[in-house]
Assembly symmetry: C2
Homo-oligomer: 101 residues x 2
């Protein structure tokens, strides 16, 4: 049976302070990889940042949101780094891929 995949889309704009930001991003990526139900992550950043993490279930997403170090990172993000962000929890209905041969 095909596995369910959920995507958490995180889109953000930045405030003037970016000190410590990239270190925290890398820490959180390393931490996310250790979470149960983690499937992968994609990100790109210019004026906005978009990060999409993939998970096996809504429960796995909820557990990651409530992970204690991640909570500290979220608070720091709100206090220092982000002027705006939006989070969207999505179910991946289907996907396809192209690879240049």
């Amino acid at each position: 049976m095909k596995q369910d995949v959920y995507a958490v889309i995180f889109i953000s704009t930045f405030s003037d302070t970016t000190e410590g930001y990239l270190e925290m991003v890398h820490q959180m990526e390393d931490l996310a990889k250790k979470q149960p139900g983690y499937l992968g992550i994609e990100s790109a950043r210019d004026k906005k940042g978009i990060t999409i993490s993939y998970w096996e279930s809504l429960e796995a997403i909820k557990a990651w949101k409530q992970q204690s170090e991640h909570i500290l990172a979220q608070k720091k993000g709100i206090k220092d780094w982000y002027s705006w962000y939006k989070v969207q929890i999505c179910k991946v209905e289907r996907e396809y891929e192209f690879l240049k041969s």
Copy 2:
């Protein structure tokens, strides 16, 4: 009743040729905005590009995929610009937002 929202996640890596790429991106964004069922677009680009477009229905997504100028752009993308891409069709289950006051 709450409106359905579908997200098309498009993640890509680039080949060496980027001539004409940004012009085409802007043309396609302008064109997408005129499509029935279009709700919005977000994008960010560094080593990878991530573009997420939002739609009212799977039918609207299908119609956009088959729009004639968009088909030409897809072919040009495969021929010239992308070394890899992945498309994921998702249903947005819920979302929340933060805006710094």
